[in-house]
């Protein structure tokens, strides 16, 4: 099933490139067209192979994705995407410890001392390395100058 979705995605992506190449000057369009065209053919082969494989696998028992795994994945996804979205608003040095702590607890870390230690410690180390030593700019957020 997943393979079918992947094939559809690939078809859409390569199809887009193929069609969008038409509005490009000829010299720029040759290569993308060639590559996306080949990709479409290969995806078709892949889809075919996957369907053949799925027919064979009908006899085998299906593997269930455990609810726990799904929950963990969702936590990771939501936490990370919020982290990135809020970076420019709240700044890196504020968001990072919050993110680290939240995700660690969500993923089941029981040892509070370890969690806080790692969260604050990592942030501190990154601060020393990136900001003090190397003067590499870091998202500061609009709440702070």
């Amino acid at each position: 099933m997943a393979q079918i979705i992947a094939s559809i995605v690939l078809f859409i992506v390569s199809g887009y490139f193929f069609i969008a190449s038409n509005s490009l000057p000829e010299a720029s369009a040759v290569f993308p067209k060639f590559v996306s065209g080949t990709l479409i053919i290969l995806t078709a082969i892949y889809l075919f192979q996957s369907i053949m494989q799925m027919k064979k696998d009908r006899e085998k028992p299906k593997q269930e994705v455990s609810k726990l795994v799904l929950k963990k994945w969702l936590y990771t996804f939501i936490a990370s995407i919020s982290y990135i979205a809020l970076l420019n608003i709240l700044g890196f040095y504020l968001m990072t410890p919050i993110y680290l702590l939240s995700l660690m607890f969500l993923l089941g870390v029981k040892d509070k001392k370890l969690a806080f230690g790692v969260a604050l410690g990592s942030t501190l180390i990154i601060y020393i390395g990136f900001s003090l030593l190397l003067s590499v700019p870091v998202p500061m957020g609009i709440l702070f100058k």
Binding site: N88, L94, I98, S131, S135, M140, F144, K145
Partner: protein, 340 residues
């Protein structure tokens, strides 16, 4: 357990707020550095106290490159006369467009300025309708570097002048390496072709270094680039310059005739200067301009600039602005004739 966690988070959050707020916030920068400080104070008070903290300089090219090196050197000396540090922030991408767009949109509170590279700086808004800035969105401060374009050939080549060059072009295929369509070199080559009625085979490269490699290896016949990029190779005796597109001969190569002297009235100069967003207080602008002027006269700076072959050409705010307006008009006219 949930409530306890929540309380812990609140404590941490508050700690973090203080930690970050008190930390060296002045070192780092973000787009939204909208500081309301100077706006709320009385204008005269804010200006006479200016500068109260470091000023950010947005540079649209990567650290270590030619533009970045020039900017860092300039501001290192300007700091001495300005009274506060200049913090360089590199925001490369889209040949500078990302940085200049950000500069145009930044707060004119006097704490954000940028390094500009005309004519590329001027041609983005003309060539690309999606460009989000134009010359009018900036307060022009000063120019520091003038780097004219040149055409160079392999040291062993028979061609020694533009006449030789275009004679060869008429007889056969002359290949010239350059930075690709859309660049100012591309425009210059087109102008030359229009002027002579002859054409050359233009080969785009990603920068001048690869094109010089190609020239040295004999894969192309000539290269179009800027004087400062060529000095090294000429001194080693690998390439020679057959013409320079400036108004007067350059001091590094007094024997090289200008295009104009050779009866080809085409000019092309890469400039590097400083600008801020429009709407900046005129006294603040004057202070910045003054520090840059003093840096450009500083003997140590000049000596260093000479060591790295940086052709210094200071222009003050009004002269620079006039020049840029003139260049914009020329570019617009050229664009009417078609894209380059």
């Amino acid at each position: 357990m949930r409530v306890r966690n929540l309380m812990l988070y609140v404590v941490i959050l508050t700690m973090m707020v203080f930690f970050v707020g008190c930390s060296t916030a002045s070192k780092e920068v973000s787009k939204e550095s909208a500081s309301s400080n100077t706006a709320s104070n009385e204008p005269s008070e804010a200006v006479s106290a200016y500068p109260e903290k470091p000023v950010t300089v947005i540079v649209g090219f990567s650290a270590g490159g030619g533009t970045d090196t020039a900017a860092r050197m300039l501001f290192q000396y300007a700091e001495k006369y300005f009274g506060q540090k200049f913090a360089i922030v590199n925001k490369p991408g889209a040949s500078g467009e990302i940085a200049w767009t950000e500069l145009a949109m930044s707060d004119p509170d006097g704490y954000t300025i940028g390094f500009i590279n005309p004519p590329t700086f001027l041609s983005h808004p003309i060539q690309r309708s999606g460009c989000q800035y134009e010359l009018e969105d900036f307060s022009i401060i000063a120019n520091i570097v003038s780097d004219p374009a040149i055409i160079a050939v392999n040291a062993q080549s028979d061609m020694n002048s533009l006449d030789d060059y275009f004679a060869a072009a008429a007889n056969g295929d002359i290949t010239v390496g350059y930075s690709g369509p859309g660049s100012s070199e591309s425009l210059m080559l087109r102008q030359l072709e229009d002027f002579t009625g002859k054409s050359v085979n233009k080969i785009p490269f990603d920068g001048s270094a690869p094109s010089v490699v190609a020239l040295l290896g004999g894969h192309v016949d000539s290269v179009c680039m800027n004087v400062s990029e060529a000095i090294n190779y000429v001194e080693e005796g690998n390439i020679k310059i057959i013409g320079v597109a400036s108004k007067k001969r350059v001091s590094d190569f007094p024997d090289v005739a200008t295009f104009d002297e050779q009866k080809y009235p085409i000019f092309n100069i890469a400039l590097r200067g400083v600008a801020g967003p429009k709407g900046m207080d005129s006294d603040m602008l004057a202070k910045i301009e003054d520090s840059i002027y003093k840096a450009s006269q500083d003997p140590e700076f000049l000596k260093k600039a000479e060591e790295i072959s940086l052709p210094i050409d200071y222009l003050d705010a009004s002269d620079y602005k006039d020049l840029l307006v003139e260049m914009t008009e020329t570019l617009k006219v050229e664009f009417e004739k078609g894209e380059w």
